[in-house]
């Protein structure tokens, strides 16, 4: 028990992230209980748990990035690192927008059916597309865990709401703006720190 506490303390920032995730999950479950069947609730809870397990499996990466010991030296030794980095951010924005579009379409098509179709679809896309590419994203410190959280929140929250197309477009724009701000923030950190 003491060892567990110690390891949690050592990874307190990662732990903080887990707490946020649990809160997100709890919020979602609350939504589910507020009108969905028991089966659907179980299904969604399983999704949250899967997400949490995945995060736990990735904790090593969490730890490293939070300790600023990731690949930033390697990354900065590359030619045109900034340009490559900008490209990666554009790609991230496109990815965010595409994800939202997929969720929106799935939500509209499968709405009111037995299982909300957007959830399994999002899961498939999440594990097939995001997980492998996250290795590349991991080149960029600070950004990886932020995007992880943003994506997780989007995937968990969106199906639970009765979403409107306007909200989706609004979220896509917001994600884009956040990414640009994040990029500037990270860049500033790099220029001044170390």
């Amino acid at each position: 028990m003491r060892e567990l506490c110690w390891s949690l303390w050592k990874q307190r920032w990662a732990f903080f992230a887990y707490v946020v995730m649990v809160a997100v999950g709890a919020g979602m479950i609350y939504q589910v209980m507020d009108g969905y069947s028991l089966f659907e609730m179980g299904y969604r809870t399983a999704f949250v748990l899967l997400q949490l397990i995945f995060m736990l499996l990735q904790r090593e990466r969490f730890r490293i990035i939070l300790r600023k010991e990731s690949a930033h030296r390697f990354y900065r030794s590359m030619p045109n690192a900034r340009k490559k980095e900008q490209k990666r951010f554009v790609w991230l924005d496109v990815y965010c927008a595409a994800m939202l579009a997929v969720l929106l379409t799935a939500g509209i098509i499968f709405k009111n059916e037995f299982v909300d179709g957007s959830v399994p679809f999002a899961m498939v896309v999440y594990f097939l597309v995001y997980v492998p590419t996250s290795r590349i994203i991991a080149c960029v410190p600070y950004v990886w865990w932020m995007t992880e959280l943003v994506f997780a929140a989007v995937f968990l929250f969106v199906p639970a709401f009765d979403i409107s197309p306007m909200l989706c477009v609004g979220t896509a724009v917001a994600v884009g703006v956040i990414n640009v701000l994040l990029y500037r923030f990270v860049r500033k950190l790099w220029d001044t720190e170390d």
Binding site: R61, R73, Y75, S77, M78, R82
Partner: protein, 294 residues
């Protein structure tokens, strides 16, 4: 003699440590060792030169003409290798290959796997073993395989020899010489070390650092000839005290370190003098710097 890197008034300020101002030149076609104790600023200097961190002041000229390292493909020509934390611990040898392919056009995957095999660190396409599970030595070997698999003109390696077993260190020295021969005067190596004895026979030019400053630099043979080691009786040492930079007094014999100009004076006083080797020179010069500092 052409210089591959010329630094002028280079300063990097941190909260607790300041590097420089440093002026230095790295001769083209040779192997240069950056020598200093832990915390002397070797890593900071290499990082500043390679554009890993931006200098607070001063400028660096690369390959005789380029003043901005971000310009064009300058970083493509430099093979930078950090002492640690180059890659995330969750990466596998395969991830390292992919990341290098992504970052550098001059990366040759086949050469990388060949070197991995030669160094005995991973078999081709290794996707299971993460860096986390490797020993410190193997991690360095992997990083070296990655950097030697690239087409570069300048290698900048931070502590490449530490954590390597004697056999692997010998292989590393061989790799250095091969790289220099391949370049035929066009390829240069700059590496840092706190243990020069291991790398002495691949060191052509040496730069000594102490507390964020360069205290001495030059081609090894010329550098060693600038100083002398002195040995003599205790009584004679009292007379020559002023000529010595550093001294060790024992009951039977005394040792000292002095500038070569003092040679005749020291011999006349009845001591014996000789030219130091690089390791002896480093130890005495660093001791002298420490003495001046306290």
């Amino acid at each position: 003699m052409d210089s591959v890197i010329v630094a002028k008034g280079l300063v990097k300020k941190y909260k607790k440590f300041t590097l420089g101002p440093v002026d230095l030149e790295i001769p083209k076609g040779f192997s240069t060792a950056l020598i200093g104790a832990n915390g002397a600023g070797k890593t900071t200097l290499l990082d500043t030169i390679c554009g890993i961190v931006a200098p607070s002041k001063g400028e660096v000229t690369y390959f005789g003409e380029i003043t901005d390292i971000e310009e064009g493909e300058t970083k493509e020509r430099i093979g930078y290798q950090a002492a640690q934390g180059m890659y995330p611990m969750s990466w596998t040898p395969y991830d390292v290959a992919m990341a290098n392919k992504l970052g550098f056009t001059g990366f040759h995957e086949e050469r990388y796997w060949e070197l991995c095999k030669k160094y005995g660190v991973a078999s081709e396409g290794e996707k299971k073993q993460t860096l986390m599970k490797m020993s410190d030595g193997n991690r360095i070997r992997l990083c070296l395989a990655a950097v030697f698999a690239r087409d570069t003109e300048l290698l900048v390696l931070d502590e490449p020899g530490s954590n390597l077993d004697p056999l692997m260190r010998d292989r590393l020295c061989g790799q250095f010489r091969e790289y220099l021969e391949e370049g035929d005067g066009e390829k240069t190596i700059l590496f840092s070390t706190h243990n020069i004895a291991d790398m002495e026979n691949v060191t052509d030019y040496a730069i000594l650092m102490y507390d964020g400053a360069v205290i001495e630099s030059g081609f090894v043979n010329e550098l060693c000839e600038r100083y002398v080691l002195v040995s003599g009786e205790r009584a004679t040492f009292d007379k020559i005290k002023r000529s010595l930079l550093v001294e060790d007094r024992n009951m039977s014999t005394c040792f000292g370190f002095a500038k070569a100009e003092e040679k005749e004076k020291l011999e006349a006083a009845g001591t014996v003098v000789e030219t130091p080797n690089l390791q002896q020179l480093c130890i005495f010069l660093l001791r002298y710097a420490e003495q001046q500092n306290s």
